[in-house]
Symmetry: C2
Subunit: 332 residues, 2 copies
């Protein structure tokens, strides 16, 4: 099997879909992919043909031989897919589900260990890694959620988990912002999350699974996801071992009754570890732990001006995806 | 205010997005829009500029002066948007909600009269009007749902209902197929519909609100939606008066905590009337009525080979959107 290695980003250019950029392994130099494809969706629509050309450019760039390279700047990035045809977010770390449910009351049913939770998210307005979290009110209970997400090719209805793994084209980090105080009333209506899930942000670059090397196995990313809230590291969670459903299982769940088309984004849900000393990837977990330990949550959700930074280092100690770095601002 | 009148369709051409076609008012002749825009999303992305050119072609076509016109064939149609960045389906006819809930038990809370139900649907693989409903098992409880849907332009977070009405670019019919027997377990998980909502189908043409003339007012379509199941008319439901939330309210609900971008599809939910003699727009309602009247549902859900036809006639007695005509087939 041939390997496909590359890192891709989408630069802001005033258009809705931005400009596809190939980024070097060390996130140093970058190069417009304009001669190959202008938009990431275009590459995903015709992956076998276009990805080999992008990989050639990636190798040239890494070798320092790309003629029109420029210094990569995450602040110029849109989400790798600024708008996508699908954003389906699983909740594959049962520990997260158990903790968050504790604050709302309900026990986690046994079936949750065999049947993944997944919600359909809005995908028409995805945020770049340094875009503001715009929120109408702090009273909504603004929370970050540090996650991993994959981008798929075409997946046919009924595809089994192992075969579904083969459809994964790219991986990204995600900040699946939640408005916690809107959740209980919304879920009580029975139709799932809607207003409680504002726009999701994604990492500066999307990388191919092969790019992760040995850290990508069993359909999971075996690296540590770091979350820094207002400059303080609050989470160093292992993304691999405690992911109860691997990405192939999540994609297979998605495709049980329908096809998924190229460019579908599928999320892991909040990365969470049973060992509380590893910290948290969302504030709701911290509050749940406080509730368990001392009878009441003490930590408040994010306020206007708060920052969140989400990053993952490779086995070489370097940033794999670049960092999501967002600030909460008030909706005018 | 200038009026914008036109009917648009998307023809199958082997590509993911198809070819944009302008269709005459009587659904007779049609014409490729290739010189203006190739895809409907492209027109939506730049509506003010492109729609005037499309309207010119529409007028030329209606006048019988278009040089390369051909006979419109709904069987060649993809969904007007074969893949969309958003498909958010409301449930604006409370009568439907009340009936369907009766079969599951829960009462409809008072808040449902002021706070719309809405779920985020999959939008990466939308079906053309004559595409098969492919289903892995009849045991899933295959049901049609006859609906109206709008396509929006850009709508900013926090837009009020009346202003949101101005963002409506196009209207379509939809068949929001549901797998009823998967619904209770899925909703019990708390994250809303997912596997219970396979691919949605849309009418052959999308029309501008102005095209409906006086039948479009108060953010509602004041016409009769017909549903024929296996050739028998089972529903002639008035779409206007009993739509508890108008489309501007639905769009405003969608935009409470985020922006909606051009090409977002927003659905009405199953069209439903209190007067049972008008019939039904989904089988679940028929079963609910049977339950109420005789203690048990008798009508079974759709079987392989069943057909569903959904159409709406204008005040002139002519088909406004063309007909959705689908057949249930077994997933190989």
């Amino acid at each position: 099997m041939t390997t496909t290695r590359m890192k891709l980003a989408t630069y802001k250019d005033g258009s809705r879909d931005g400009q596809l950029v190939v980024v070097s392994r060390d996130l140093g130099p970058a190069h417009y992919a304009a001669g190959i494809a202008t938009r990431l969706q275009q590459a995903l629509d015709d992956w076998n043909f276009i990805s080999t050309q992008l990989q050639d450019l990636y190798e040239t760039l890494n070798a320092g031989r790309a003629r029109h390279a420029f210094a990569f700047d995450p602040r110029q990035c849109m989400a790798p897919l600024p708008r996508a045809y699908q954003w389906a977010d699983g909740s594959a770390y049962i520990n997260h589900v158990e903790l968050v449910r504790k604050t709302r009351g309900p026990e986690v049913p046994e079936s949750f260990h065999s049947d993944p939770l997944m919600y359909q998210g809005g995908s028409d307005d995805l945020l770049g890694p340094c875009d503001d979290i715009v929120c109408a009110s702090e009273d909504f209970g603004i929370d970050f959620e540090s996650e991993i997400a994959v981008v798929t090719g075409d997946v046919a209805m009924g595809t089994a988990p192992d075969a579904a793994l083969e459809s994964i084209r790219l991986l990204m980090l995600a900040n699946d912002v939640s408005l916690r105080h809107l959740v209980p009333a919304e879920l009580a209506k029975g139709f799932g999350f809607f207003q409680s899930k504002p726009a999701t942000a994604f990492s500066p670059v999307a990388v191919t699974p092969d790019e992760l090397g040995s850290a990508w196995h069993d359909g999971r990313v075996h690296l540590t996801l770091q979350s820094q809230w207002n400059g303080q590291t609050v989470g160093r969670c292992e993304a691999g071992p405690e992911m109860n459903f691997h990405f192939g299982q999540l994609i297979s769940h998605l495709c049980k009754t329908r096809n998924a088309r190229a460019g579908s984004i599928v999320g892991s849900g909040t990365v969470s570890n049973k060992d509380w000393s590893r910290g948290y990837s969302c504030i709701a977990e911290k509050r749940a732990i406080e509730l368990i330990e001392s009878g009441a949550p003490r930590t408040e959700y994010m306020k206007v001006g708060d920052t969140i930074r989400i990053e993952m280092l490779g086995t070489d100690g370097r940033s794999v995806f670049g960092a999501i770095e967002q600030r909460v601002v008030s909706h005018a």
